[in-house]
Symmetry: D2
């Protein structure tokens, strides 16, 4: 049972390989009446697009998206939305030498074990190229969340290797190729990445995503809690090895008297919980952090085995991101949009009648 | 759309509130022919059971499980397995005063917002009591995984507040009420918990779960990767705020040359990946860590609001765990069993024919 | 992958065997705030209950239902509703002789082939006893549909063997043990059934179910059309071999000019479509017919094979319905309630915002 | 929640409108290692293709399918298979006049009610054009079922209006544009259809589909029985109003002693059950019949209302099939292939270990 559909009510089914003719997805369950055109999707794709700075892979893809269905006279119809992105700059010959060996730290070996074969060209289905369809689908969800509920989802690179952002200036994020919210850090990142690229090595990163104006009530305990679905969505992104909500791992050493967010009529006094209590959104900002490992595709030779099990050495010479975390910000935003969108519809299905007489607690005191 | 079913092929549907007459679950999709009786399930329930030491809640529940269906002449039949656990020691009067106020750090407010009402007795559906059914279902999965595939799933308390286990002695885990693998640490934990209990406060914890002898090939990219499903399962446990696979957040500062696990014909040279590559098990040990916050149910007064939105003070006097992380070890094990079981069946459905001629790489070099 | 859950948003997971300790189900996704007690469920169970007339099986079960969760202070909470019915009058010894042979026309052989074993006592999971949980769950759906949307679901026995109801008097249905809407036919049915019982044979039947006051808009093309889901639900009932919507098989010989239901401002001029157009409810009455075969459990000897494949003769001496179609009316009603309930929630999730300026066409002209 | 995905393990997600740029689908869950190219899919599409005789719609579509992903070096990889068919002969101007009125017997009104808007061009999503993607997906399933299990799925037109096929000659089916198995009937059908076309009217039909060499054991009681899923799949086809398995509605008047299929060591003595017992395949031929109504798109004027609710007259002048049942045979075959494929994978996931020592009963005695 393949797992290429995300969501229960807002369902995104993805297809396509890195070096196939095209990638794409089908969005089933988008409410009718949403204004939608390619122009609503393209900006997010452009943010994720490779080849826009010297710090990401030099593969140059237009990532031009085409809406094939589900939109009529500028509005969604409730029918499934087919999205297609053609691959235009695949260089499969770069990958011939890895057809016979398993790159360490990569999915080569596990795909071979699972399916008995693999499309090795550019990593095939395991390539991060697949995330372009997530960003496209996320843009549709984002358009709905923003226009109907005023929800804003945005993110930034919180840390790149040893460099941690000290100030969070949302305006700065769009001004540099790293999605770094700390202007002062950008020159250091540039120098670090230039040096790293020369060594042929790669580096990990930490990305933060935040959703603002989320209404309370989203999330379906006990298994499909909002935080559980966020964790699933984030961990499904290539290279992610850890996910935190709110204080995350810092809760281990915190006392209950410290980590509970007290409430006043003016609002919550803190947000250690990251906007989710008992698996349901509280109306506070949802705060998520994800750790991305360094790409294993590096020019430094590594030990491995070939398909006959014999020792081999591998050097990856294709075009790769020296820090996959850099382009991860729009991907993580997209996944958070998909999770929220799905839960808006799920909540509405069961609870459309709920008229809650209880006070809505402000996200924070004035 | 309520989310009380876990799994796609090995489906566990849970029901029951903390102070209702009973809790239980239905397991649909268990393969036929598995030897199963209550005696296979009870030991895991007993490990999670409250009231077995002074360091957990003093609520005393037998947690006696009853198999209602799906087993005939000692073997599963392929039909759904109904499991029932009666509640015997609920004291609902303890909770009367919280019917009108929202305990900070709890699900009280979000349940009220979502559903327009809530069963406040003992936290109702949001109580950790619900996890007993997870442990029961997990025990069935564990019996299958162990008997059919030799998979061993086990865990331990890696850290409690400031106290971190330095040595991992699996034999020690069962010998103390903390599931602590470091015998030297146990007296310190006891003293710390005794002191904490006197203050009326609570504390967070870190739990590690490991699965050994997992065959390569489990996991369904791109969305239902094994790591994504593990993250979902762990984050669905009450109080969990962070999940890591393998090196987790440590990957942020690691270079690709450090974090890729090189391969030799004798085996992988390291396991930074935690047994999962590209979302698919590699055959190495699966290593998961989860951070649990301190319970918000403490005797120290806290600020909150009541159902009219007026300022109020809350003091929780019911019986609670001063460290929910202590009893989390068997729960986390159960969830990992459920994830693996589901993926064994999912893999088998699609890939039953795969006969992989490629070498199976040993988990570690000799 | 076992298929014991019905519904996508209003999910009913059923468990239990004919001769096990209990049967039951979990309803996940019931909206909060619905007034619900055992008294809302029991009447439907009593209508289906065996042993209430000489024309059905003489097994005497109280079919007393118990709500285990999901209801607090008389209202549903949005949490899963656990329902339990204990088995009290199983006589497993009657079935010993069929442990070794496959009853022709029964599920004995196919269960054995599928699962490699079977609980032969009373047919185990394949027994019609399982339908009691459907009726219980259907009663919860019915309570919602009636109180919130004014939808009325009811049915009748349209034909029993050669005897077809000529007049449809809804008041008559509850007055006889056959659910027959034609009072004049009842004495004939009684005489026919008495004679049939003496021969040890059994007979088929035709049941009609109707849903009134269904709002237009329910159904999810292209695959999960309302009619497709109704067909699925009805065909999932034991012994059903055919399903029709509206004119059903009569459309084969009808011309388009005859079978299209013309529309006037005063309403549709006919209902050949049975209330569903393009897979979506039109607001007209939904009309469904299902054909049930005669039970294969008869006292007349039949040829079969045993588990060694040797020729054998079988005579079924347990207590059985000579016409399973008699008790099928409340079961079919329950399934139609489940389908409609699920589609109400599904429609609402995606289309909650739809405010349709188009005219609502009356079900029929004045 | 839109319902454009069919299947649980072999999942087909369809998209596209009649007059949009393209239609297509994604198949997720196809086992790896299946030889597949466009040449395996095109023949089935060509059988369904419009405009190949004067008896179907004169819209001329090449229906040329393109595989976008999931196949590498001629074999499936286990990754999702994207299929695309461009629309080339849409004439939207024919449909302008129906933008404002609801065609009786069509989905116009119900789509408008459900979604608040509709793509009226060619019927948009409700057009039978959508079934091309079903046929494409069904061809992939068919290739697997045939090559791996020897299952053969085929069908024929059993009745067209008053003309019923008396002899079933499988060789005849491919020789005429009606899929009629009775050569003697073909001239009558031609004359009847020519006359009908002149009147501007349309007619219903009956289609039979048969699956041979189906292994016993497919089907997931109690809800996802094989027959229930077949009923769902068939009723999801445009214009279908009735579905029968085996003897279908004829069971109403049959006695148990007549309708049970007795068993001998040489095989079943009859197949009244249509190859399914207790919702599970028995190894006998699966026999399904479906009734298709006459298309409501006819040139004969009909009464209706417009979007303002005012009385209107409608005459459909676009290109339509005077008997949609004619082209339904390959569509029904495709749906049966999808059902069987899904159940093969579902059965395998849960029951891979089952080694059944019981005798396999031959489909029929020699």
């Amino acid at each position: 049972m393949s797992g290429n559909t995300y969501g229960r009510l807002f369902c995104v089914t993805s297809f396509g390989e890195s070096h196939g003719p095209a990638i794409g997805c089908v969005i089933d369950g988008c409410p009718p009446g949403l204004a939608l055109s390619e122009a609503d999707i393209q900006p997010d794709l452009d943010r994720r697009r490779p080849g826009t700075s010297r710090h990401t892979t030099q593969r140059r893809e237009d990532d031009r998206v085409r809406i094939l269905s589900g939109v009529f006279e500028g509005l969604t119809t409730g029918a499934p939305i087919g999205l297609l992105i053609e691959n235009t700059d695949a260089r499969s010959q770069d990958y011939k030498k890895i057809a016979e060996v398993f790159r360490p730290g990569h999915a080569d070996y596990t795909y071979q074990q699972k399916y008995g074969r693999r499309d090795h060209r550019g990593g095939g289905r395991s390539s991060a190229r697949e995330t372009a369809t997530r960003v496209a689908a996320g843009a549709v969800a984002r358009a709905y969340l923003r226009s109907r509920l005023g929800i804003v989802v945005r993110g930034y690179l919180a840390q790149l290797g040893p460099y941690r952002a000290d100030t969070i200036d949302w305006d700065a994020v769009a001004e540099n190729p790293f999605f770094c919210p700390d202007r002062a850090l950008v020159p250091e990142l540039e120098a670090y990445m230039d040096a790293l690229r020369r060594t042929g090595d790669s580096i990990g990163a930490l990305v933060t995503v935040v959703a603002e104006n989320v209404p309370p009530g989203l999330g379906e305990p006990v298994f499909d809690r909002l935080d559980a679905d966020i964790a699933h969505a984030m961990m499904s992104i290539n290279a992610v090895k850890g996910v935190e909500i709110g204080d995350g791992f810092a809760v281990v050493t915190a006392r209950g008297s410290e980590s509970r967010d007290e409430i006043t009529p003016e609002g919550f006094l803190a947000n250690h919980a990251g906007g989710i209590l008992g698996g349901i959104s509280s109306g506070q900002d949802i705060v998520v952090r994800l750790a991305l490992k360094a790409t294993a595709s590096i020019r430094i030779p590594g030990r491995t085995v070939d398909r006959q099990g014999m020792a081999a050495e591998v050097v990856t010479t294709g075009r790769h991101d020296p820090c996959v975390g850099i382009r991860a910000t729009p991907i993580a935003e997209a996944m958070l949009c998909l999770v929220l969108m799905d839960h808006v519809l799920r909540h509405r299905g069961q609870n459309a009648e709920v008229t809650c007489p209880t006070p809505r607690i402000p996200a924070r005191p004035d």
